[in-house]
């Protein structure tokens, strides 16, 4: 490859309107231009938030759960970048809230197996036919059942918020760069499909606005239904245009590999996946306890070898891949530590992490688990910040 851009002539580079200012800026602060973008390996963020999620699954204590949410929210607020992805955090928050509400509504409307004595209200009970025995609609609503549903829903909401934090901190597009080469193209397809959702929403808004211009009502379900077809047409046209552009930019170029290697790749990948399935089945059933683990491990090994061999077909290189440095270790380790400590705590001091509902007791904040949760704040100090 020859270099045809005039890198030897920096004066050439100051012709454009913006270029002039940029090159002046470069001369005065030479270091700032070649500074790395302050990013952390996206895998570290995912490990961190999965650690938090694991910790959340070990407890129903609302105070510990609230502490987990607060810690993750603080880290997101300090470390997130300005990409569109980072705005998804509030969406996850709303989703978590909705889940909590739904859980409560179900507990109130459908009753709960939790025996309780503090009746808050008695709803009219709907008589159900005999085949629906065991299901109840309405009836007594006890404080115990509501509190139990609240704890349960809060746990689920915390899990969702932890996943949302990973989403906001590490964009899927960046995670894609860490995928093995053989999976890259599937990954691009998934990410492109994800970015279509915001575009679809914009299209719906534009076309509903256009209905108003025709003198038709622009609100209501009917208006939404009538723009459905044009919106889908638009989305299809856009994806075809994008596919053409990607093709013209070299998407899917592949290297020539001998047929033997191709066949070996297929055999390894398929065999590996079969092994994984069989191994998992073996582990989960009682009879397969002996052969389960070895088959699973062999399957994973074969599948990984298949992926590695498959990577030979792709020419792709990575532009500035995120390195896995000490900061990434710290972030991942803080998540792991929270998960490990809370698992340990739930094994040794189950009562503090699972406050009782029958009889009703006020939950107390257990000191050591709470201190462990605070470890999750480490990334706020360790992770590099976006320049504001």
């Amino acid at each position: 490859m020859r270099s045809r851009l005039p890198s030897r002539e920096p004066s050439r580079c100051s012709g454009g309107r913006d270029g002039g200012g940029a090159s002046q800026g470069r001369e005065s602060v030479p270091a700032s231009r070649h500074q790395r973008r302050p990013t952390l390996h996206p895998g570290a963020w995912w490990l961190w938030s999965l650690g938090l999620a694991t910790a959340a699954s070990r407890t129903t204590n609302p105070l510990v759960l609230a502490l987990l949410v607060a810690a993750s929210a603080y880290v997101v607020a300090t470390c997130r970048s300005r990409t569109p992805w980072s705005r998804s955090y509030s969406a996850f928050f709303k989703l978590a809230f909705a889940v909590l509400l739904i859980r409560l509504v179900f507990a109130v409307a459908l009753g709960s197996p939790v025996p309780g004595t503090h009746v808050i209200v008695t709803l009219p009970e709907v008589p159900l036919p005999h085949w629906a025995q065991g299901i109840r609609l309405g009836g007594r609503v006890t404080a115990e059942s509501v509190v139990f549903a609240l704890y349960d829903g809060l746990q689920l909401a915390t899990l969702l918020i932890c996943v949302g934090a990973a989403n906001a901190l590490a964009s899927p597009a960046r995670l894609l760069k860490s995928l093995p080469g053989a999976l890259y193209e599937i990954g691009v397809a998934v990410v492109v499909a994800l970015t279509f959702a915001p575009n679809l929403i914009a299209d719906v808004q534009r076309l509903r606005a256009a209905r108003r211009l025709r003198g038709r009502p622009d609100r209501g379900v009917r208006g939404l239904l009538q723009v459905g077809l044009p919106v889908l047409e638009g989305a299809l046209e856009r994806s075809v245009a994008l596919a053409a552009a990607m093709d013209a930019r070299g998407y899917g170029r592949s290297a020539d590999v001998p047929a033997r290697v191709r066949r070996t790749t297929t055999a390894l990948t398929l065999g590996g996946l079969l092994g994984v399935c069989a191994g998992t089945y073996g582990l989960l059933t009682a009879e397969g306890g002996t052969y389960g683990l070895p088959v699973l491990l062999a399957g994973v090994g074969a599948a990984l070898a298949g992926l590695r061999l498959g990577g030979r077909r792709t020419l792709r290189t990575r532009y500035r891949p995120d390195p896995w440095g000490p900061r990434a270790w710290l972030v991942a380790a803080s998540g792991g530590a929270v998960a490990a400590l809370l698992t340990l705590a739930s094994a040794t001091d189950s009562a503090a992490l699972h406050p009782g509902v029958v009889p009703l007791t006020a939950p107390v904040l257990p000191l050591w688990p709470a201190a462990a949760v605070l470890l999750a704040l480490l990334p706020a100090l360790a992770a590099p910040k976006e320049p504001s």
């Binding site: 851009l5 025709r214 930019r249 899917g252 532009y319």
Partner: protein, 571 residues
């Protein structure tokens, strides 16, 4: 570098080839412009260079296309990616990643370049295109001109030897267009890149072209020559060529500078004649008494403190035509961004107003506020006595109509006939009203034509007919000339002049200075959401270097706006 050998392309289901007998060669390092009316197959020719035609679009390609010695018959688009860079009409459809830097690297990653090479080229390209300050920005937050530069940069990093561009400046304001063209010229001059581009706005690009390929009509063989030769016979030509043909200059001047040097004699002939100032139809008064709906800029720059009342000289209040729309100290904030502030405007019947300004200056927001799509955060908007965003849609269409940037957004039905029937129902008009309008605007279009099969210009006319069915006194058009060739533009000008003469007030948001010069009685300049100038077209555009039409620049200091005016004065 690019070689077409007797190429013809027939798409599936088409009876006739879209292009036929295309046979030319583009040498290395030339900037070649592909011109012709709409629908002659310019995009097809461009697509054939990158191999997207026929590998991606389907159809049959006869003959042979070779790029840098590679036959597109045996090479798929992805295998040409290292020699051809293609940027389509809509840069947004082109982006795969979400930040500028990643987008620049994407093509190189696909080609498998070494990481240190990629790093160096990204830095070089950021400098070359003046994008260094934007490197970490999400693409969604960029302006139109910046997006177009990123799109060009993203195909430039793999160092293609050929760059193919489809209408790179159509959606851009004059300053952003110059920015993009300056970059292209630098690529050709410094790096020896071969550029093939199609563009409707010849006045912007013709002076950069080394050679021009003209596709005169659908299916006709192309004509290749120097810009001056081709412009002498071309059915599409910029105003400077029009003036050159009128004055009988040979060889034809292609730039304002060339034309100015020849224009001494013409200026003398025109000296003393007065440029006919376009006046609103409702003002049947003598020319000296042109109603100035606002203080002209030359007298008093419109400032925020200027009274929102309409200022008229030499007119008694009882002859003042009632305004069709009033905007008073309007402010619009959306998502924390101030889109408009302290806007005071009034529109009179029969008046044509051009809204101009940079991409993102607030033109579309103002139009959307007038049709009630956007709610004002402060101030008031009255259209025909109604508050747009509080009026039910079926009542509002009788007061104001908007043809949006994408006219197709207004069209739902499968046939022109069904569209017209629906428009009559929507507007509660006599059945047949819309069809009559369509017949007037688009002679020869059958009832059972699918709107999708119409050309850009025809779709615009259909959308215009649909909007006009309700007879709104105020008609708004957002970027009506995007993608229109000169002939379609001329038809649009005739139609709009007729409507203004019937008493419709027309407001156009446009980047097209030639259109504004031709049509508008009054120009309103917006910058960062504020009205910075408002006055008769001649006063406003003459004083602005980027908004002055070519004829004004050529014949300055005399104040002529269009070739038509000059032709009339000489006759």
């Amino acid at each position: 570098m690019i070689r077409f050998e007797d190429v013809s392309v027939t798409y599936e289901g088409a009876a006739e080839p879209t292009v036929r007998g295309v046979d030319f060669e583009v040498p290395e390092g030339e900037l070649v412009l592909l011109v012709g009316p709409s629908g002659v197959g310019k995009s097809t020719v461009l697509g054939a260079v990158s191999g997207l035609v026929p590998h991606f679009t389907g159809g049959t390609l006869r003959g042979r296309v070779t790029v840098a010695g590679r036959d597109t018959r045996t090479h798929k688009p992805r295998e040409l990616a290292d020699v051809v860079g293609t940027v389509g009409q809509d840069p947004l459809a082109h982006f795969v990643t979400d930040t500028v830097e990643d987008e620049l690297a994407y093509g190189m990653e696909s080609l498998g370049l070494a990481p240190d090479v990629m790093r160096r080229r990204v830095e070089e390209t950021l400098d070359l295109l003046g994008l260094a300050d934007l490197r970490d920005r999400p693409i969604a937050t960029l302006s139109g001109g910046q997006r177009q530069r990123v799109a060009i940069g993203s195909v430039l990093t793999p160092h293609p030897r050929v760059l193919v561009l489809d209408e790179p400046t159509s959606a851009l304001d004059p300053a952003a267009a110059e920015e993009v063209l300056a970059v292209l010229q630098r690529l050709v001059h410094d790096l020896g890149t071969t550029v093939l581009m199609a563009e409707h706005r010849l006045e912007r690009v013709i002076q950069y072209a080394d050679r021009v390929i003209l596709l005169p009509a659908p299916g006709a063989a192309p004509l290749l020559g120097t810009p001056a030769e081709v412009m002498a016979v071309s059915p599409v030509y910029p105003p400077v060529v029009d003036l050159g043909r009128l004055a009988g200059w040979s060889p034809l001047p292609l730039t304002v500078r060339d034309a100015r040097r020849r224009a001494g004699e013409l200026r003398e002939r025109l000296d003393g004649r007065k440029a006919p100032r376009p006046a609103p139809a409702s003002a049947a008064a003598p020319e000296a008494d042109v109603p100035a709906p606002r203080v002209p800029m030359s007298r008093a720059p419109v400032s925020r403190i200027s009274a929102p009342r309409r200022f008229r000289r030499g007119r008694t209040p009882d002859t003042v035509p009632p305004g069709v729309a009033e905007v008073r100290s309007l402010a619009v904030r959306r998502a924390g961004v101030t889109a408009l502030r302290q806007v005071d405007l009034g529109f009179a019947p029969g008046e044509t107003v051009a809204l101009m300004g940079r991409n993102g200056a607030g033109k579309s927001t103002l139009l959307n506020t007038l049709v009630g799509l956007v709610e004002p955060s402060a101030g008031s908007v009255l259209v025909g006595g109604a508050v747009p965003h509080r009026t039910a849609p079926h009542d509002l269409v009788r007061h104001v109509g908007l043809v949006p940037q994408e006219p197709a957004d207004l069209l739902y039905a499968d046939t022109v006939g069904a569209e017209c029937a629906a428009a009559d129902r929507d507007a509660r008009a006599e059945p047949g009203t819309c069809r009559a309008l369509v017949s007037g605007l688009l002679p020869g279009i059958g009832d059972d034509t699918h709107p999708r099969d119409l050309s850009e210009g025809q779709r615009l006319a259909l959308a215009l007919a649909v909007v006009l069915t309700a007879r709104p006194p105020l008609l708004l058009l957002d970027e009506p000339t995007r993608g229109l060739d000169y002939a379609a533009k001329a038809r649009l000008v005739t139609v709009l002049r007729g409507l203004a003469a019937e008493g419709h007030a027309i407001v156009l948001a446009t980047h097209d200075v030639e259109l504004a010069a031709e049509l508008a009685h009054r120009v309103v300049l917006l910058a960062e959401g504020e009205v910075i100038a408002d006055g008769p077209t001649a006063d406003i555009v003459v004083s602005s270097p980027s908004f002055a039409p070519q004829i004004t620049k050529i014949l300055a200091p005399q104040q002529w706006l269009t070739t038509a005016q000059v032709r009339e004065a000489l006759a």
